[in-house]
């Protein structure tokens, strides 16, 4: 009994995000002209999965009480790189995929090294590295173009057994292979502990530096998986500054919707995934209700503003006014 209550309290944010997503998705599909069909689900999944990967990446860093404003740019850079490398024969394609993931890993590791060992503020450091990653992406693709192994792309963006979207299967696999082991490992615990209270974690001998470094590095890897999927959907690479920026922004919105605390130490990537899917569905609601697409940026901005303001409710629980100043 006590165990289940503890579990419920811990997963409250995730369950809330799941709830919001289900409500939004039901409204969406019941108003969609085609209704709840495999096609509609596949399209929605493909759009949502991109943001879900970037949001997972953001979650890992946010858990350590940091922030990664370069996730969108790593996402773009790996998209541009994949449009060069993930082509040709199966072996070449496989090597290309590995190379793209490795680049994402390195980008994340650079962020981690600068923030942890260079002791710089995550905001400024990742804005700066984001500019560098964007610049490299622009070098790779001054103009939109390139191609991708279309067999692989179609397989990963299609449907398994004609029903389940393949992108969701990949997302599940990534969660099982990366997130679950990480969050249960010593390093994952260290990342949570560092976000919760760095001083206390340090005093207790928790390997906070390694934990945070692993979080930043894996964030780069997850962003590059997102970049890879973007290439699979669009068949091209494009270094669009606005797109990278908006993915960074939306990843923060998704993380907040998913119940991950921006002060660190609380939340899970699974919540962020549902946050991302919910955020995407909210954007699509405008489409089914025939709103002018011009209103979409404003609508998404307002949702973001409301979502981040929800955190202010914690103020009502403050007993001592000095707790305002963390």
């Amino acid at each position: 009994m006590r165990d289940s209550r503890y579990w419920l309290a811990e997963q409250r944010g995730t369950l809330l995000a799941l709830g919001i997503f289900i409500v939004m998705f039901v409204i969406y599909t019941s108003n969609h002209p085609a209704g709840f069909t495999a096609n509609v689900v596949q399209t929605a999944a493909n759009k949502g999965v991109l943001l879900a990967f970037v949001a997972m990446a953001q979650t890992l860093v946010v858990i350590t009480a940091g922030i990664d404003l370069s996730v969108g740019m790593i996402f773009l850079l790996t998209n541009c790189l994949a449009s060069w490398l993930v082509v040709g024969m199966p072996t070449q394609t496989a090597l290309g995929v590995v190379a793209v993931l490795a680049v994402g890993l390195v980008c994340g590791a650079i962020n981690g090294a600068i923030v942890i060992y260079g002791r710089l503020q995550p905001i400024v450091a990742t804005i700066a590295t984001g500019a560098v990653y964007y610049g490299i992406g622009l070098l790779l693709r001054p103009f939109p173009g390139g191609s991708v192994n279309e067999d692989l792309a179609d397989a990963l963006t299609g449907r398994v057994f004609g029903v389940v979207p393949a992108s969701l299967v990949v997302l599940l696999a990534i969660v099982l292979v990366i997130w679950v082991p990480f969050s249960r490992s010593v390093l994952g615990r260290a990342a949570y502990a560092a976000g919760s209270s760095e001083t206390a974690a340090y005093m207790s001998g928790v390997p906070i530096r390694r934990g945070k470094f692993a979080a930043y590095t894996l964030a780069g890897l997850l962003a590059s998986i997102g970049g890879l999927f973007l290439t699979f959907f669009t068949y091209t690479g494009e270094a669009a500054y606005a797109s990278g920026n908006s993915y960074t922004l939306f990843s923060i919105a998704a993380v907040v919707l998913g119940g991950v605390s921006l002060f660190g130490g609380k939340g899970s990537a699974i919540g962020a995934i549902f946050g991302a899917l919910a955020f995407r569905t909210i954007g699509d609601l405008l489409f089914v209700f025939d709103f002018d697409p011009l209103w979409q940026p404003l609508f998404q901005g307002v949702i973001l503003l409301v979502a981040v303001s929800l955190g202010a409710f914690a103020l009502f629980r403050v007993r001592n006014r000095l707790e305002w100043f963390l």
Partner: protein, 325 residues
């Protein structure tokens, strides 16, 4: 010991200066020398004055950014505060003579509004500044997209805006430079001679302590964000006057440079430490760097990479947080 004797021999003003500010000025000299290797005209007064004029737009925006960074916060809503200021000023100009007269105040007012939303979020709702300013940036972008229909607006800047940005009230000195000098002087006065300035430094060092010593910290933070929004919008107004109209993404090019200018000038990103002289040095440094890169015909990609690398390198030199112990 040798360090101390060496410092003892140096003139007083060098000993007292912040090493970061000195480094920034040294970098400016190096950039000027490198630039003069590329082009003879690099050291000519006309060219330098032209650079100063271009720098003054960034200078106005960086002034607001500095105020916020001194508090230990950050303002990521600069891009669309700049664009909103420019667009709204141009939009007001379309409403007859009174609109023309009110164009500049109206543009600044819109920026102040964005800043006030930021301030309420940070000071009263205790939302991390980078998050709430990202959100207001998105909302401002949404509002501007709805207003303009997704295109750059057709309204053009008023004569007064053009005069402020490109005119010469004093022969030989561009008006934009004078405006930057006035704003800079006001900023120095506020930071060093007023209670508000003391409060800003106090909050940047430790907000709890400032609160306990009787400062209404929330009001100070709120005013600082409003000022930052207003100054960003004023920078946008000047830019619109310079280009004689507003454009969709005109502010994007000012977020990273304004943060970089403040931080390169030795202002601690953690707040509480920094001088306006450093910000002036940072602004000139960034502008010269941009200018040299464009003289070298460096493509946009290379510029972004060099920016990022320079900022990280300079921060690693003197912007590091203390080791956790």
């Amino acid at each position: 010991m040798s360090d101390m004797t060496l410092a003892g021999r140096m003139p007083k003003f060098i000993r007292r200066a912040d090493p970061a500010v000195l480094t920034a000025f040294a970098c400016i000299v190096v950039l000027l020398l490198v630039g003069s290797l590329y082009s003879r005209s690099f050291l000519s007064p006309e060219y330098l004055l032209q650079q100063l004029k271009v720098a003054s737009f960034l200078g106005v925006i960086a002034t607001g950014m500095m105020l916020v960074i001194l508090l230990g916060q950050i303002d990521l809503s600069v891009p669309w505060s700049v664009a909103a200021g420019a667009m709204m000023a141009c939009a007001a100009a379309a409403y007859g003579p009174s609109g023309v007269a009110l164009a500049i105040p109206f543009g600044i007012f819109c920026g102040v509004l964005i800043g006030i939303v930021n301030g309420i979020g940070v000071a009263y709702l205790r939302i991390p500044s980078m998050i709430i300013t990202l959100a207001t940036n998105a909302v401002a972008q949404g509002l501007m997209v709805v207003y303009t229909g997704g295109f750059s607006p057709q309204d053009s800047a008023t004569g007064a805006m053009r005069y402020l940005a490109t005119g010469f009230a004093i022969p030989g000195v561009p008006n934009a430079v004078i405006i930057w000098a006035l704003i800079g002087a006001a900023m120095v006065f506020v930071l060093t001679r007023t209670g508000f300035g003391r409060a800003v430094y106090g909050i940047g060092n430790r907000e709890r302590a400032a609160y306990l010593s009787g400062i209404d910290t929330r009001r100070v933070v709120m005013i600082a964000f409003a000022a930052s929004g207003g100054l960003s919008a004023f920078g946008g107004v000047l830019l619109a006057g310079y280009a004689s109209k507003a454009a969709q993404s005109m502010g994007d090019a000012y977020l990273l440079p304004s943060i970089a200018a403040v931080v390169l000038g030795g202002t601690s990103i953690l707040g509480g430490r920094g001088s306006y002289l450093g910000t002036v040095a940072g602004v000139i440094l960034i502008t010269l760097l941009q200018s040299i890169l464009s003289v070298m015909q460096m493509p946009e990609a290379g510029r972004q990479i060099i920016y990022g690398v320079v900022i990280v390198a300079m921060l690693l030199l003197y912007g590091r947080a203390p080791a956790s112990r």
